[in-house]
Assembly symmetry: C2
Homo-oligomer: 675 residues x 2
């Protein structure tokens, strides 16, 4: 080794090289292709390039610790400390620290450009941070009389010289304030670039912090997550009601509204865009981030939400053949969607899959990765339609099934949206037929002495989708309804909780001074129809896949989040699967949107996956009707899950005598329950 | 030759080949690469593919005329005739007519895609028609339940299958009405494509006719030309005042307004965009064309107009170093400029050259083509600043010179914009010193008995820029002003037309009951300053070019259109050049914009030329001041042009005794005129 050079080894990459004494560590790292972040381009401003210095010299026998192999901290690091607080012990700015002798340099995770972000969601899959927006600080040549060229051309020159970024294009929005920003920053600016090739935005002087937002536009709720694009951290999340609800509670009633009032489409586009803007303003205020610093957005939604967001009438989605206007992924500018974020922001809409399988399902797939496993996954997002995805790394199939809005509490006599006051949990004593319930907003069961006081604010207002699933399953387990779904009128003789209701009977789930919540025979039928549609859709996909076995089931969406899978199993909504493999997918669509926001490769990944998905149209499949009719009844399947209800108190009667469990929910013997 | 094939020769290309009997002539032409237009893709709808059939068979000795070598007209041609009137004699639709024997086919000019368009403007240079927008008619697969894919994907498939157009992108605006248009056209649509790669717009069914607009945004006047992109024909032209005038008559006063009122920039952007929109609505109404059928626009203007149009504050253009925000060519969408044309339209703004040499000068270069000749051209566009371009195929130089607004009639006591009532022509009798004038809006000289009656409507309201040039030249020739530009006060003794006016004298150009138009000493000084600036700018470019000779001079803009070059020569505004080589360039900027609209290659041509132009900043050139001072006086140059005023009646005294003509306007002996 020459006396004028030294060896430098970087950890964790293990890359090593020999450098002239005096070489800045950042430069050495760059020459070796070691991944160290920097926004300011080595000016000691951004602090992104921090390294941990394990000084030493290298001998045949390893590393011997020795001091002073790195140049001492200089003025720039001092000033950085004054502005941002002192660096952690042992940390240095690699752009300022120069090689003085052999070195072992540790690059901490947060100094790496492509670091992993741990998901807080179930499954804990990590996201590899690789957004398509990066910041670059540059010093631009000042405009002078005797030098030709525009301010823009000088900016492009600076990016080429200082960052080796050639042939850049730019959003025209950038031009409007370019001159004022260059002068305000005294010819220093920070530039946001899209994929190292297009200028999206500028700020005067040095700027750190650029943000993205993942938005899940649901029919009922819009949720948004503000994310730091340089750390991957979620800074604020919030949700709000979709104001389109005033045009129709569920999707199909909104589409019907458009069919009756064609001008309603533009109006729904307007209100949903306004709602997103107010939600973004809210989360930005929470995180103290300017909306103009949002440079990237990913929006997902079902096909109707997707089309309305784009200003496309959803009319064609209201009837066969349910034609999408567009199913490819879309890149748009913020002005095209009238979003009040940086006008240069890049908006990504993942592809829709089919007429009723939207970009929300695409995001769910990105989050749950069924295409990554040998195991067969079943993903279900239940809304007005159930979006169903089945398959593994070899094949993936998708369909939507017309479950109707019953699972959302609509078309149910006492049904309502999941909101405070709605019954969401139900337990029925099989002897007394008396139900205990829990409502959203309270942790107490209704037989707790403090229950009435606790729910005094909201009252008990109705029953939501997950509540009605439990109610029906419990009614079945308590013998109130038969396998065919008929409320047993003979019970009316011995119990005041089963009452005549026209030609059929109703069950009184909850009664109090203020409110009586009943389940009618029609309610039971509605849920039977919905769950039969869901099951038939799954069965159709299983047929096509040629395999009836499912290794894991993930339930997405608000309903999927709240439902207790055990009761769904009892009702025969889901195919057989080990119970511990049935889970809520959490907010899978929102998580998928966040992955697409933070990792650019995930976009091409999911676009390729969606291309490969086999789309099954349930409406033209003859077998669908057959499966649907077969799946109407409640299967005698509880004995297949001996421990299913073990932990539920009070213990209840399981009725093994009801008949053997059958594979297909429709093929079991129907017999009258003996009592 | 096989009995089942025949020889086909196309004229004028001379391409030939052998084809199976029954081959449609259009297909034969395509296979040979013969340039025949078609929008409908061979369905007999568009009539673009007409050919003239010179039937015959080929022998060694040439062509012998023979009938029936082309299939007889069928149903499609019959229907075309019913819809559009019968075809001209001998004409056939080449998509319908099939080869039945040897043929000589003539492709008329209007059936060729790349035909020449004759310019009506001076110079008669032809434009090769090659716009970047073309129409394609397609039949799209209908959406069906059992076929996956969106309406967009079906449209893309149809374009790939029927026109071999692969990998197309699309404007997001296209998506909004895609579904409705497909259904309205019963799955037949006409698609407008940009450069065979991006879908800009759609119409239901078959559609012919797509339009472009060339707009010259002047400080005073906005002019627009509506052009048929498939024929190159100008369908309607119109102009209107630039409403920004209320913020300041000339450019610099508008920039000053923005400096005082920063919010004024957005306001000026708004009013100029509104004005363009109302102008486009007007010319579309005249031509009975829908504004939504405008798919292409080219806009040119000086840098201040250019920046305001883009929504960029022109503040930096108001002072040194006169920095442009952007000088490259720009492609924009119609919504970005808020233009009420098709939202998918492509807008092109040619590059600006320098801080005061704008896209209008670029368009002037495109129209006048100085870079195409060995001869040295001098192009001048006179506004508040004179934009000056000098050079030839080897080198091209440009500068702007601060002539101020005097040439536009501003800062002149009786000056006004060129408008009805303004004096534009002046002749002075050297003996009586009495002037005859002509005003805009009348063909009569003021000494005609009917003059007063004819101008009664407007009156004689002032003098415009071209009028003041003639007035000064005539005053000089009549001995009223000296070579130094001093009004000869001694004349006041013998003439009532020269009158004392404070410490100096004025000349009464026109006096009548209603109005008196005088030329003051200050007016003379203003014009001297302006013409000296212009001359000095030209001289500086000549210095740099290393050549004092000029082979042709073209004067552009409104002022350049109206000025009589002889008088400009007398005043010493222009360098020496054979008088017959000095011409108005007409509306060179508008013509250049129209060339860029109709010929896509002209855009890259002019962008490359602008890159090469050497930009001279007069403000930092020490010699500019020197030339400027030297050019203040009026050169004794009339004797160099013996026939200059021969045809002007009445004959006037030419004063050869004044001294020999000098090359530099400032270096002549100054002597008192003897009288």
């Amino acid at each position: 080794m020459s006396a004028s050079t030294a060896k430098v080894v970087f950890s964790p990459s293990g890359r090593r090289g020999e450098f002239a004494l005096g070489t800045p560590v950042l430069q050495a790292a760059r020459e070796l292709g070691v991944d160290i972040d920097s926004v300011c381009g080595g000016r000691g401003l951004c602090g992104r390039c921090q390294i941990l210095c394990c000084e030493g010299n290298f001998t045949k026998h390893g590393i011997v610790s020795r001091a002073a192999n790195l140049s001492p901290p200089g003025a720039a690091e001092g000033q950085y400390g004054v502005r941002n607080g002192p660096l952690q012990a042992g940390r240095r700015l690699s752009c300022q620290a120069a090689v003085q002798g052999d070195l072992l340099i540790d690059v901490p995770a947060e100094s790496q450009v492509h670091r992993q972000v741990v998901r807080k969601d179930p499954g804990q899959r990590e996201i590899r941070l690789d957004p398509d927006i990066h910041l670059y600080f540059v010093e631009v040549r000042e405009a002078e009389l005797d030098h030709a060229g525009s301010d823009l051309s000088h900016l492009l020159e600076a990016l080429a010289e200082q960052w080796d970024l050639q042939g850049l294009s730019w959003r025209s929005a950038v031009l409007k304030r370019l001159q004022a920003i260059l002068r305000e920053g005294q010819w220093s600016v920070t530039v946001a670039l899209y994929q190292q090739r297009e200028i999206l935005a500028l700020w005067p002087g040095f700027k750190d912090g650029v943000y993205g937002v993942a938005v899940d536009v649901g029919s009922t709720t819009i949720a948004a997550h503000l994310t730091d694009l340089s750390s991957g951290e979620v800074l604020a999340s919030s949700g709000m009601m979709n104001p389109q609800i005033r045009f129709g509670e569920d999707l199909m009633s909104r589409v019907s509204y458009v069919m009756m009032h064609p001008e309603g489409s533009a109006e729904m586009t307007r209100v949903v865009r306004e709602a997103i803007n107010s939600l973004l303003a809210e989360i930005c205020a929470t995180a103290q981030v300017a909306t103009a610093d949002i440079l990237s957005a990913v929006l997902v939604g079902n096909p109707v939400m997707h089309h309305l967001l784009l200003g496309i009438s959803p009319q064609e989605l209201g009837g066969a053949p349910f034609a999408l206007a567009v199913d490819s992924a879309l890149y748009l500018g913020a002005p095209e969607l009238e979003l009040d974020i940086n006008p240069g922001a890049v908006i990504y809409l993942p592809p829709c899959i089919a007429g009723h399988v939207g970009a929300d399902a695409t995001a769910m797939i990105l989050s749950e990765q069924p295409h990554a496993y040998e195991d067969i996954s079943l993903l279900i997002d239940i809304g007005t339609n159930a979006e169903i995805v089945l398959g593994n790394r070899h094949r993936l199939l998708a369909c939507s099934s017309p479950t109707g809005p019953a699972f959302e509490g609509a078309q149910i006599r006492c049904g309502q949206r999941a909101a405070p006051g709605a019954i969401e949990r139900v337990r029925i004593d099989a002897d007394t037929l008396q139900a205990r319930v829990k409502v959203i907003g309270s942790e107490l069961w209704s037989d707790h002495p403090d229950f009435s006081a606790e729910v005094a604010g909201t009252g008990v207002t109705g029953i939501c989708g997950s509540g009605i699933i439990e109610a029906l399953a419990e009614m079945y387990l308590a013998g109130i309804i038969s396998g065919d779904g008929v409320i047993d009128g003979s019970l009316a003789d011995g119990s005041q909780l089963v009452v005549a209701d026209g030609r059929t009977f109703s069950y009184i789930l909850y009664a109090n001074a203020g409110s009586t919540i009943t389940i009618s025979q029609t309610d039971v039928r509605q849920i039977q129809l919905a769950k039969a549609a869901l099951y038939a859709g799954v069965k159709l996909l299983q047929d096509r896949l040629g395999s009836g076995s499912v290794d894991r089931i993930r339930l997405a969406g608000a309903f999927g989040n709240h439902i207790d899978p055990r009761f769904a199993m009892v009702l025969g909504m889901l195919p057989d699967c080990p119970l511990q493999q049935v889970e809520s997918a959490g907010n899978a669509a929102g998580t998928g949107a966040r992955i697409a926001l933070l990792n650019r490769e995930s976009r091409s990944e999911i676009e390729a996956v969606v291309q490969r998905i086999e789309k099954i149209e349930t409406a033209v499949e003859a077998k669908f009707q057959e499966y649907f009719v077969d799946a109407m009844a409640i299967p005698h399947r509880t004995d297949a899950f001996p421990n299913l209800f073990a932990e539920v108190a009070p213990p209840r009667r399981i009725r093994p005598e009801r008949g053997q469990m059958t594979d297909s929910p429709g093929k079991r013997p129907r017999r009258k329950r003996s009592r």
